[in-house]
Structure formats: structure tokens, C-alpha cells
């Protein structure tokens, strides 16, 4: 977003707003990962505890790692397109 059109007070206002949003964005991502990795990895309800096959050794931890890397890569591509749109044709 182009911030040069705003004065200092407005920039400060936006800064505060973005900080507040960061928190809710974080929780949103947290929940997305839990959702995704629970649904993809946990399918066996013959015991109460998460088995080692489901958990750290295997699925859930790999799923978390992969999700973070996935989001990071999407972010890179997304930022590239954003930069292109800002600096390219205009």
C-alpha cells in the first residue's frame, strides 16, 4: 500500500491498526494449521493419546513444517506480484 499520501498522524494511526491486526492474523494462522494438520494427520480414534506415528516423529510435525514453508513461499510470490504492480506499469 502507498503510505506517502498520508500525513504523520494518519501513518501512526495505520501503524497501530496494523499491529492490532497482526495479533489476530497470527491466531488465524494458528487455527488454520491446527485445522489442516489435525484433519490430515489424525484419523485414528482407537486411543485417546496421539500416537508417536501421528505426532512429533511423523505427520503433525512434518505438516506444521511444511505449512510454514508453504505460506512463506506463497508470501514471496505474492510480494513479487505486489511489487510489480506498484513499480511496474505506473
Amino acid at each position: 500500500m502507498d503510505f506517502t499520501q498520508f500525513n504523520d498522524a494518519e501513518r501512526k494511526h495505520l501503524q497501530r491498526m496494523m499491529e492490532q491486526k497482526q495479533m489476530s492474523d497470527f491466531f488465524k494462522m494458528y487455527n488454520t494449521i491446527v485445522d489442516r494438520c489435525f484433519n490430515d494427520c489424525i484419523n485414528d480414534f482407537t486411543s485417546k493419546a496421539i500416537s508417536s506415528k501421528e505426532a512429533s516423529e511423523s505427520c503433525v510435525s512434518k505438516c506444521m513444517d511444511k505449512f510454514m514453508k508453504h505460506a512463506e513461499r506463497v508470501n514471496q510470490r505474492y510480494a513479487e506480484v505486489g511489487a510489480e504492480m506498484m513499480g511496474g506499469p505506473k
Binding site: 500500500m1 499520501q5 498520508f6 500525513n7 504523520d8 498522524a9 494518519e10 501512526k12 494511526h13 495505520l14 491498526m17 496494523m18 491486526k21 492474523d25 488465524k28 488454520t32 489442516r36 490430515d40 494427520c41 511423523s58 505427520c59 510435525s61 512434518k62 505438516c63 506444521m64 513444517d65 511444511k66 505449512f67 514453508k69 508453504h70 505460506a71 513461499r73 506463497v74 508470501n75 510470490r77 505474492y78 506480484v81 505486489g82
Partner: protein, 89 residues
């Protein structure tokens, strides 16, 4: 019109512009989240053999993001065309 005064800079904050900026920010965040979710669905298999992205997945993500944005753009253009055709012509 603007009643919000910043004490330090003594500049007025245009609330209407702030609301528009917020809306725009929310839109981009939402778009990003939807891309992450769609492309994860389409590119990452549910069997987690490794924690890293392999070559195929990485390429898939790159293409998926590009295509998602392209669809986003063409829908935008189409909607603009429809809404523009209404009041003008």
C-alpha cells in the same frame, strides 16, 4: 469534519481515508489467506513424508499463486466491465 486530532503532530486524521486503507489492507490479507489455503489444498499431498517442500510442490505453489492472481484479476475486470456498463451506457 475530522474530530480526531493527534496531540504530538497536531495533524488531522481523515477517518474516511483510514477506513478505506483498512478495507484495502483487509482485502489483501484475506486474498493472501485464501491463496495459502487453496494452494495448500491443491499442491500439498495429505501424506506427509517430509517436512520440506519438494521440487514439485514448490513449482506447483509458484504456478498456483500466479494462476490464482490471474483469476482474481480477470474476475475483477469482468465485474468492473459489468458495473461500468450499467450506469454509463
Amino acid at each position: 469534519m475530522s474530530f480526531f486530532m493527534n496531540s504530538s503532530a497536531n495533524q488531522t486524521v481523515n477517518m474516511q481515508n483510514m477506513a478505506m486503507a483498512e478495507q484495502e489492507l483487509d482485502m489483501f490479507t484475506d486474498l493472501f489467506n485464501r491463496i495459502v489455503s487453496s494452494c495448500h489444498e491443491k499442491c500439498i499431498p495429505k501424506t506427509y513424508i517430509e517436512g520440506d517442500l519438494n521440487k514439485g510442490e514448490a513449482v506447483c505453489i509458484d504456478r498456483c499463486v500466479a494462476k490464482f492472481l490471474e483469476v482474481n484479476k480477470s474476475v475483477g475486470a469482468k465485474l468492473q466491465q459489468i458495473s461500468g456498463a450499467g450506469p454509463n451506457a
